[in-house]
Point group: C2
Chain length 746, copies 2
């Protein structure tokens, strides 16, 4: 019979009977003192197994050839990884899905006029980089750009996000019928062609400005780690905020016989052709721009006067792709649980890359492999996890979370029953722990991070991240980092394989990795290579080991805990923050709109404009009405009470059956945060608390239905969505109350 | 017998007898309704005289040759201007002072090592610029740099202000024995070598980064107005915040027989050699830097990775100057007052330039000349000003306010008796009215600006500046700009000829000009030419006329008013703002120091540092004690009462003798803001409310003795200076009370 310990903070706590219990020096959420002690012993054995030479060897091997989806390297890597897992004793299989994946057939970008230029669109081999000349590399392109052949003047749109078009409009610049050139940054890349199309553009070029990603940041490759003049960023431009995965099978697995959409009905393909280029190729294009001088914050580091355009000379962009069904190979490896085999702790990282992918994704993937290998050695002594551990090495992450999404969609029913939580990682380098995910796992994440030592400072990795919050944060962030017992984890938007788990199915998830120090500009380039990684990023693989220690603890604890390690007071506290934010957002937008309308009506904007420059006064906007946030506040108040009651509940003797039943209730709580109808205009995204922003991409929007309705000035929708979100929170409270009730508290 | 009207705002006000007086639709501060009406008629006649073709002709003529001090062109221009004034009927003389003025004999800047480079240090002639090849130009140099011959590694110090050296120290970079290279901006240029020397540097190079002043801002000259790769900024680097004027005669006029310091005793010469260079010359030097990568905000627009240094290769800087006594020729032209000839309204602008100086200073000087010409035509109809108008065209402003300072120092006693106020202008271009000065003249300035029409928008020029505050300001600035009846004028630091009047003698002053639209990068360069000005800055001289209208109104009103147009409620309100600022500064610094010390003691800074980079933890600082600001608050409370009583006093019949006596009291009020002992460590600066910052130069520090003691962490001095400033405010209150008493109010 076991005691549940839910608090790390009270060293002396009181049992329900009123009798004091002794101090428990090292409690673990979900573990009794006895099982916590066993767990810590196990983790010591686990740590002792970790060997960084494996990380180095695997990275070198797996990054030796191009291994994008559809390449021989991808299949070979999947088979190699699967063989490793089998050799460690995992029940391993490769699951194949066939997905739409375009590769380039024609890529032409040319500047016409008197100073003709044809873009090179290639990353030259470097003698300092041993893989850079290896054949079979995917050319520079953006996946899921449509085919197109357009010729038009060029306009510079900065990051190409909605507010940039307001600046252009004020300068009297219209992109209708034009090709836009946007720089990388400011949003996920797929947002740029979407917004360009919404404003009437017929083509989109995306380049890496050296201010953000090149010599403006540091020495360029191969002298330093930063992007050189010909380096370019590949990447998907599918409309991922609408749905992840294969564009032809939204919501269902891309298995043989699955009903596939016609390409013309696929909603996530771009509407205009899109091409990424290097800054060497961007220079002549930007030099051809005329028109107004770009605002200071739009200016990059190229040696020219940045202008908005349009160009007098036209630009010719011609793109055609092979639109093929392409296999993705997920490696799925299981270690069955001894007591609760039908509760799955899933731990994933993708293995596919755009080219060689030493950093993205192999730095994370090899840490996961070493974690799995070390875990497997523990079984040699007779230990087995209580719950089933599932290691997943996804393919097709790069083009659009394909491998993970198709697997999740294929096994949705099974996962809704069995998945306890999902733990994701991706690229990893030196520096600070970044961890985000479900806030019901915040205390769990904090505990694990507290138990791992940072190799550079000797602090625990949580303390180092907390130090960064204190040193770099705003005064409010500093205060919180000093005073709040748990460090608040980030909310997740998108950009890696947690999305289908968390936001489509409602499986509690975490995403973690280290970074901030070993930084550079090889992202999605040929030069993301082993040579680059071991020179500049994490040469000794120390942080690869640190990731294995941190993620390994999360995996082992989730698999071994007496009851699943959820906690809800932190969660409710963060919800309060989000509710405060959307309330304040409405207020701020109301004041700003009123002020802006007043300035327009008083003709102040035209009064301060230089009449020798074009200035177009914006239209006044509809005033922001008052919204009734009371349903949200009420639901939040209830949630806080429910959370507090569950978390305060201690010292109840639970039978194994009760533990199982409690796990069942707990693992469904994140499911209760979803609505089957999904978010407005994007039903695939069902989570009501976290979503990738419709106009930010990777960037998260919390309470997205309400927040985005405010941001997008959909006043009726704001009022419609508030009760839906409130009722979602009520569902969560009800489920928490059920868990509390099972503990014997009415 | 006249009624004083001190408020523009109350259209119906109450006499002291309690009887209502009728609405006065267009009151003018210092004028009775009758005399206000006469004044407005006169101003209408004045406006009708203004002819922009004169501005163009004079600018073209006066900018045809180099006219720096000591040049034939300077003397010729002075004589031409004097002849004009004489022809208009002014009592005109040229006053000569002989001052120390160095010109270059040797200028060598060379990069040693494998990539040798010898700086060109020259601005090439351009076929698009008709004066650029005219001989006799001063080379590129910084006046009052000492001679020197130094060879040392180079370090990049950003703007070279004190906080930049904190950043260098954190990176483990020491400038001792090094040559520093700083970019222009962030402070007045003379601060850079001063701070470099304080940190042990042995030489200082200052360059114009194209981000701040070059292609990063707009098209370069001659295609556009911005600084081209070889354009460089000349300028004085004397330690002007210690004293203005001839370095050898602080506090006294440089007249024949004046006691001159030995050069070795001159405190304002630099301690290390200093040279300004173009960005073409800076590029190879910056490329030679090694060491840590510069922080993002330190990076300019040159196509390189900015590094802190030091360079492996050394730099050789060799400078020698002709240290000559050089004549400056001030043109002083008087129009004697009819009723109060011993009250002087002084209106000045300099006429000397670094090279051709079309913009700086001729754009302002020709507006002043047209103002004087138009005023002279008014006398043809029999009008004479009540008070004496003195027009002054200073020479030697560029090297250090030489002409104005020596004149002020020479005539100090006379000016202390006679000067009612000083009105200054300098460069002028298209855009917005910028006006600053004594806040006792704020309402006066507001009234004049309300009566002048902006040529681009048709608004009055005050309304346009107010619109800018509303549109571009912070929410607090916006609120104030909307709600405060008078637009708050700026406080004056330094950078033009008002400094000796205001800050040395305590003569109430205003400084005004238009700008913000016709902007470019020809400042102190060969390319500040007529061709440049008429292409890019104010091609139609519309804003030259607008300046003449605004400054002309100020001059005429000050000369014609029944009583001098001072007002003190606005002044006291601004004093409250300054007292609040220094109080808050102490509080903020106390909190920041405590937080910083805590972070150091908790070892958080080293915890977040990348151990592969050098990081030196700063020393803890002494805590900021609590200061007793009560004397300041008490003096301020008294001042507010005195101001309110004076400003509320109306409708007193004053005899001419009483008006004269009242003028005498009023013109002494600004004098009461000074202390004979001056500011700590700089006795020449006597004003206790406004001073150029010791570490900012042109940038103002208000309540400087207290504010800079806080900033420089001189805790004892803070407490010593507070009562001194408070007693200064008490002097002011006493003087205001005397004026009120004269009006018959006890």
């Amino acid at each position: 019979m076991l005691r549940r310990v839910l608090s790390t903070l009270c060293l002396a706590s009181f049992s329900l009977s009123g009798l004091p219990v002794l101090a428990e020096p090292l409690p673990l959420l979900g573990f009794s003192p006895t099982s916590a002690a066993q767990e810590r012993t196990l983790e010591g054995q686990y740590d002792a197994q970790l060997d960084r030479s494996h990380l180095r060897d695997w990275m070198q091997r797996l990054s030796a050839k191009p291994h994008h989806i559809g390449s021989p390297g991808d299949k070979e890597n999947a088979e190699y990884i699967a063989a490793q897992f089998r050799s460690w004793g995992y029940e391993t299989e490769i699951e194949r899905f066939d997905v739409l994946f375009p590769t380039p057939k024609t890529r032409v970008l040319q500047l016409n006029g008197s100073r003709k230029y044809r873009a090179r669109l290639a990353e030259p081999p470097l003698k300092e980089d041993s893989t850079s000349a290896v054949p079979g590399q995917l050319p520079i392109y953006n996946a899921y750009s449509i085919d197109g052949d357009v010729t038009a003047p060029l306009v510079y749109v900065n990051y190409g996000i909605p507010k940039d078009y307001e600046v252009l409009a004020a300068h009297g610049i219209d992109v209708k019928g034009k090709i836009v050139i946007a720089r990388y940054g400011g949003s996920w890349r797929g947002i740029k062609p979407k917004v360009a199309y919404e404003h009437g553009a017929i083509g989109c070029i995306i380049y890496s400005d050296p201010k953000d990603d090149g010599f403006g940041q540091g020495e360029i490759y191969p002298k330093g780690p930063w992007r050189n003049p010909y380096g370019a960023q590949r990447g998907s431009v599918a409309d991922m905020p609408v749905h992840a995965g294969d564009p032809l099978t939204p919501g269902i697995g891309s298995v043989p016989g699955a009903k596939r959409l016609d390409m013309k009905d696929a909603t996530t393909l771009t509407k205009i052709p899109v091409l990424p280029i290097s800054y060497a190729d961007a220079l002549p294009l930007l030099q051809a721009l005329e028109g107004p001088i770009a605002p200071p914050e739009w200016r990059g580091a190229l040696p020219l006067t940045y202008r908005l355009g349009a160009s007098a000379a036209s630009v010719h962009l011609k793109l055609a792709f092979n639109w093929q069904q392409t296999p993705v190979y997920d490696v799925i490896a299981k270690l069955p649980g001894k007591e609760r085999p039908d509760e799955w702790v899933i731990r994933g990282n993708h293995h596919d890359a755009w080219v060689f992918g030493a950093s993205d994704p192999l730095s994370g993937a090899v840490a996961l492999m070493e974690e799995a290998r070390a875990v497997s050695t523990l079984t040699k002594t007779g230990w087995k996890p209580k719950r089933t551990i599932v290691y997943a090495l996804w393919s097709g992450e790069e083009p659009g979370l394909l491998g993970s999404t198709e697997w999740v969609e294929t096994h949705a029913q099974l996962l809704q029953q069995k998945a306890a939580l999902y733990i994701n990682s991706d690229s990893n380098t030196r520096g600070f722990l970044d961890i985000g995910g479900s806030h019901s796992l915040e205390k769990f994440a904090n505990q694990a991070a507290t138990d791992v030592t940072d190799p550079e400072t000797g602090l625990n990795v949580l303390a180092r991240t907390r130090a960064r919050e204190i040193v770099k944060g705003s005064s409010e962030e500093r205060r919180e980092a000093r005073e709040r017992p748990d460090l608040r984890i980030d909310a997740l938007g998108s950009g890696s394989d947690f999305t289908p788990f968390l936001q489509h199915l409602g499986i509690a998830s975490l995403n973690l990795g280290f970074g901030g120090e070993g930084v550079g500009g090889s992202y999605h380039s040929t030069y993301d290579s082993f040579d680059n990684y071991v020179r500049f990023l994490d040469p000794k693989f120390e942080y690869g080991i640190t990731l294995a220690q941190t993620a390994g603890r999360l995996t082992l604890r989730a698999a071994n805990a007496d009851v699943l390690p959820f906690e809800f007071t932190d969660f409710a506290d963060t919800l309060q923050k989000y509710v405060d934010e959307v309330t304040k957002l409405a207020k701020t937008l109301r004041e700003e709109t009123a002020e802006k309308n007043r300035q327009i009506s008083e003709k102040l904007l035209v009064a301060v404009a230089d009449p020798t420059q074009t200035f177009v006064t914006p239209q006044t906007e509809t005033p922001v009405p008052a919204f009734d946030f009371a349903p949200l506040e009420q639901a939040l108040a209830r949630l806080k009470t429910s959370a507090k009651r569950y978390d305060a509940t201690k010292a109840t003797a639970l039978s194994p059956q009760q533990q199982l039943a409690l796990d069942g209730l707990l693992s469904q709580i994140e499911r209760k945060m979803t609505q089957e109808a999904g978010l407005p205009r994007r039903p695939w995204f069902k989570h009501q608390i976290y979503a990738p922003g419709f106009y930010t991409g990777y960037g998260v929007k919390t309470l997205p239905a309400v927040r985005e309705a405010i941001e997008q000035r959909q006043w009726t929708e704001v009022q419609t969505q508030i009760p839906i979100v409130a009722s979602t929170l009520d569902q969560v409270s009800t489920q928490i109350d059920k868990a509390t009730a099972l503990l014997g508290i009415p």
